[in-house]
Symmetry: C2
DNA sequence: GTAATAAGTCAAGACAATTGACTTAATAAG
DNA sequence: CTTATTAAGTCAATTGTCTTGACTTATTAC
């Protein structure tokens, strides 16, 4: 009688799904290719001229695209290129890290318009939540000051913080990240801001940023190896960020290396945490970044030693990523001081021979990513933009409200 | 003037894409849940009753579903469950391995109806192609003998062979797999059979099989660790097989392990190839499988030694897979003798602590997969069925003709 | 026996893409 | 300088698919 095991099924779609997809495809095409005429768009998307005209008209009405001056090229009526309007949409990104929190406001094309930073007070979420909400509110009102009516065009609030998520913390957790992970942060933020809130780990956010404005722009298969306090991989697979079953895909910090007969998690050797430990430095020291940058530039032997190990481990990681994901390219990014990242990239080469060495490659196997301490916050903000405007399977389905 | 860098864009969609998707969603729901009434389908897929009725009518006309006896449950008009008709579609799968080639015919629900096997003559594709075409033709005509009109319902020919694809071979290649990989096999098969031809590596095929009828049935995130002559991972991500940029995703045989200060590819230690070498056995020996099975059952010390190393490496691999993909479950399968696989599975436990140890798990972290030498061929055949009937993003787009 | 409930159908309607003819604006060719 | 050709883009009618709301049917609960 009560045969109530739930029925599992994917969601169907309808006209609105079709229309939504086509809108996204057009926005995506403009993002990847820059300005395009309606005729170009029709050819590229395989939609009819008429359909493209209708969608462009609608997008223009919504303030997402605008026309540029007509261009004559050869015979025929000149074409009218359309481009994305940067101010067509905005998003707020929030990076919550161990000793700093950053918030940014970005526009549709990924330009950062407002930045703000705060130190998290000790004591975890109970006191920190208010600081964060204030930080977001500040960025939001600053954005509104710069761009009139921007609040109406705010598509969401993206949060990036170190993962993994949903795992019981280990206890020895000086920054209380474990407590943060238990705290109903997303709900608090959603309630406090009234915005749609999304979550990514920091490597995923870095990948999202690279995809919107960086080395992964327009790529469908790319992996960002992110060296921060920990180490993680942001996975762009089939043109979208891959999250795994529980949002923890790419958390390779716990991958095990073997050396000297024992196993060590990758992040014990290739991460800023390991560097701080190696240098006996205090990670909360605000000048630490600059000092490390300096040491790296001068070729300090202590740093060089760490770079040697870390680079070897990264070389292995890159080989592993190429072997497992077969991506178009691997992007090395991180929240490390720029000088250090550069030294690291230099030390990583030459790469190990792998399946990625194929004839006809157009992209380098390894590319440097953004070396900007704000890139994770940017990626956090890029999340909602991508969710709102990029074509993806879930956006077609009926339950993707 | 000639600004002809190609415009990159995703394809748009239209009514037909919608309709195709909804059909697939319904077939998928019936595959996952067994028989369902139209009302159930409407609720599960969020389509309207009317739409579901129309689609079911069409599917019934096409011979893909059929009604069962009405069931009374509680008040209201009894519902009429519909189920997939096994004979609604067929597919042929072809496994090309080093010293054996297998072909099977399977139906819509993944039952194997016909099997055939042949030894590949030495000399690579020049002589082998004919053998393969004959094998396929034989299976096809046998299927036609069993099921009238089956040829009309043949959706394609799926091929599985060891990867990686598109890489220059290494030369020392006694079975000429390198030559096979250069040979235009797919084109030859397409021309010779008139069927749609698809290609997967053997681990991917195993995963495809597990998804249709095995432990990954109905899962959206699962990884099959496949121990065969080499070792590979078949990746089910977001409900579809992930292929990577060049079809080589999951080829983890070349992943590097470190021990004794030097690095070794995983497949040098955890693969049948390594076992054969360890035993100084001839892989072409037709009785080898049975003999190894026997030895494994008896606890032969030489085999036990190999199992010890291989299990440790698999334990590491599983940990790595959990760390990187965050799947719902990992499935250990292989073309190894069943006794050996069982010993191996027993020896792999207990698993290393990982991110996969979370409260509220419903599936085991590791599950045994099919231990059937025909499972790769089955997976090969499942490829075209999945392509034709499973919901996926590409099926909605206009250029998926 | 009647009310309530659920499955399923019918026919009209809504929505978004398609089609084919048409307009517009440019260059190429004579 | 005129005309043909080409390409961008619009207009209006059409088509395909899902949706809506009223209706029918079959069963159980009271």
């Amino acid at each position: 009688m009560n045969d109530s095991r739930p029925i599992r099924a994917k969601s169907g779609t309808n006209h609105e799904g079709t229309s939504a997809h086509n809108r996204r495809v057009i926005v995506d095409a403009l993002r990847i290719n820059g300005a395009l005429s309606r005729a170009d768009l029709a050819r590229a998307t395989r939609l009819t001229k008429q359909t493209v005209s209708n969608i462009i008209e609608e997008l223009e009405r919504d303030g997402l695209v605008s026309s540029q001056e007509a261009v004559r090229k050869g015979r025929g009526q000149p074409s009218t290129p359309f481009r994305l309007v940067p101010g067509g949409a905005f998003s707020i990104g929030l990076q919550i890290d161990r000793h700093v929190t950053r918030a940014v406001a970005v526009d549709l094309v990924g330009s950062v318009l407002v930045r703000a930073e705060a130190a998290l007070p000790p004591g975890g979420p109970s006191t920190g939540a208010k600081v964060i909400l204030d930080l977001v509110a500040g960025v939001r009102s600053n954005l509104a000051r710069i761009v009139r009516q921007s609040d109406k065009r705010l598509v969401g609030l993206g949060v990036a913080m170190p993962g993994p998520f949903g795992i019981d913390g280990s206890g020895d957790d000086p920054w209380m990240m474990g407590a943060w992970q238990k705290f109903p942060l997303l709900e608090t933020l959603a309630a406090g801001t009234g915005l749609d809130v999304g979550l990514q780990n920091d490597a995923a956010a870095a990948a999202t940023a690279e995809r919107m404005v960086g080395a992964a722009h327009g790529l469908d298969h790319a992996v960002c190896l992110f060296v921060g306090y920990g180490i993680g991989a942001g996975l762009i697979l089939n043109g979208e960020l891959y999250r795994g079953a529980n949002g923890n895909a790419g958390e390779i910090g716990m991958a095990l290396l073997f050396a000297d007969g024992k196993s060590t998690p990758l992040e014990h050797r290739a991460s800023l945490a390991s560097l701080y430990q190696h240098l006996s430095a205090d990670p909360a020291d605000p000048d630490l970044h600059a000092r490390i940058d300096n040491l790296a530039l001068r070729g300090d032997p202590s740093i060089e030693a760490w770079i040697g190990t870390a680079a070897a481990d990264l070389r292995w990681s890159i080989h592993l990523i190429e072997t497992i994901f077969d991506p178009q390219t691997v992007i090395l990014c991180g929240s490390a001081p720029e000088g250090l990242v550069n030294r690291l990239i230099a030390a990583v080469g030459p790469l190990l021979p792998s399946i990625a060495e194929r004839r006809g490659r157009t992209l380098p196997r390894l590319q440097p990513g953004m070396a900007d301490p704000w890139s994770v916050a940017l990626g956090a903000a890029a999340g909602p933009i991508s969710r709102a405007f990029d074509p993806h399977f879930a956006a077609i389905l009926k339950d993707s409200r």
